[in-house]
Symmetry: C2
Amino acid sequence: MSTAAEYGVLGIGNAIVDVLARCDDAFLAANQVTKGAMTLIDEARAEELYAAMGPAVEVSGGSAGNTMAAYASLVGARGPKGVFIGKVRNDQLGAVFAHDIRAAGVAFTTPAATDGPPTARCLILVTPDAQRSMNTFLGACVNLAEPDIDDALVAASAVTYLEGYLFDPPAAQAAFRKAAAVAHAAGREVALSLSDPFCVGRHRAAFRALVRDEVDILFANEAEILSLYEVTSFAEALDAVRAETRIACLTRSEKGSVVVAGGATHAIEAEPAQVVDTTGAGDAYAAGFLAGHVRGRDAAQCGRLGSLAAAEAISHYGARPVRPLAELASERFGALA
Amino acid sequence: MSTAAEYGVLGIGNAIVDVLARCDDAFLAANQVTKGAMTLIDEARAEELYAAMGPAVEVSGGSAGNTMAAYASLVGARGPKGVFIGKVRNDQLGAVFAHDIRAAGVAFTTPAATDGPPTARCLILVTPDAQRSMNTFLGACVNLAEPDIDDALVAASAVTYLEGYLFDPPAAQAAFRKAAAVAHAAGREVALSLSDPFCVGRHRAAFRALVRDEVDILFANEAEILSLYEVTSFAEALDAVRAETRIACLTRSEKGSVVVAGGATHAIEAEPAQVVDTTGAGDAYAAGFLAGHVRGRDAAQCGRLGSLAAAEAISHYGARPVRPLAELASERFGALA
């Protein structure tokens, strides 16, 4: 048995600044953007697409970064605090990312790269149907490597949360595996988010091995879990995941989520929301679930906290919370928040 | 008589990226921020205040920059097109500013500074009462100077619009006066916005001379016009301004505006709006008025277009338009839009 954790959740992910703009479907078609997906792009394509898109808003993002910001908003001053590991460059957008995650109440000490590509950015195009299409230039994230994983931080965190997108930059898989090993050696838990069906397709074998061998808590949406197990029905995917992980949270957009935990399966309803922009819905769900989990809530209640955080995320433009989630959760769930 | 203008409005102003965050009144007090005003700060104070403030959103701003973005949104594809002169540095935030103003449909060709201070930023704190308190680090704007004023652009623009904030950086006053002289020599009009009562206080004598000698269209709110003429009642300010300018637009928040033009005085009502953030209300009003003016609308109708643009600006977070103003204006005013 491990000692009490200093941190609740340690998130490891790509440190990205989102560049959000509205557009119509014709713009996506004319610029060959895959609707609803996350597509990796190089710097030249990033420049080209940026030049074509409309006036934008810059706001810190990154899947695990968003999760940590929402986690901090949910636990508020009560704690336990969250911490983030990710790589920026020492440029203006890197300073923006570092400011925002710290200002959200998350510890962040990964040193910024002093050379190499600039801070990563994700060009996010939001269509009138509230769908987001993401185009990511990984930039400095390709330099995240094993030495950036601070063993003491991992050992001091109840849950180490890994975003699947981190399988894209070349050196990060090793960092990932090191973090999982350190966490388990310290008696902690490892959580993973599958991030995107195309990301799963790019790294299926590695994800399958990681889920089977290292993951205690898995987050995936329907498309991602079908892709992981190469099955065509949700029921088959559920059977597969039940056999391999201790806890799995499968999100299904407006149909809510299914949480598999301790032999039981819980269907959790979505919370009502006026949908403005779906960016960050999955990230927020993971934050809600983990905030409940590290504070000892049962699996169904953790799922409800996930639904609440996701509903807040989709009700405004941008991925990170605008309303303090601790307050929203108290209003909705009282002592169970 | 001059030839037909190629551009409708040429805006000259500080090229600034806004850094917007929400806070409460206690934060303003604890950090000695003057509520509702624009305060000039140096780089050290900018770093200090930024470190203290919450997670932020970066969005292109600057008073005349906002006016030009709203102007472009109002005239849409019908034109005449707008153009902007302002100084950024060749850094990431400078690239953001340049992208956004061009993506809004405004021509922008001022060369970025290749050395000296970074692109300007304005730390804007929005309190729950929708008031904004601005803290501006002028950065690269201090390098805007006479050579940046392209005489051909000024001569090709029906109205040259100057933001009062441009009296703060040391070299810009000369650029201002040069632009006014070139505009008048070409038979064009000069418009000025007083920007802020404290800015008027810092440069009162220069503003008085400029208004008397060069300004055809003056924009000011109540506090600014009282400060300019050092009077205590709106009626006295109105008398003073009537004697000195051909057209004056005095904005009065929810009381609408008073437009003085051609010997007549028009009281214009505010358009209804759900107030979220007052950042950019005055900038948008000027855009609406000028968009009507360059297309030959009468003074009262120009004022109504100003009210419409201001209502859109205050109905969302951030200064630049979110909804296409040409559409809103058509819905509201039909053929008079």
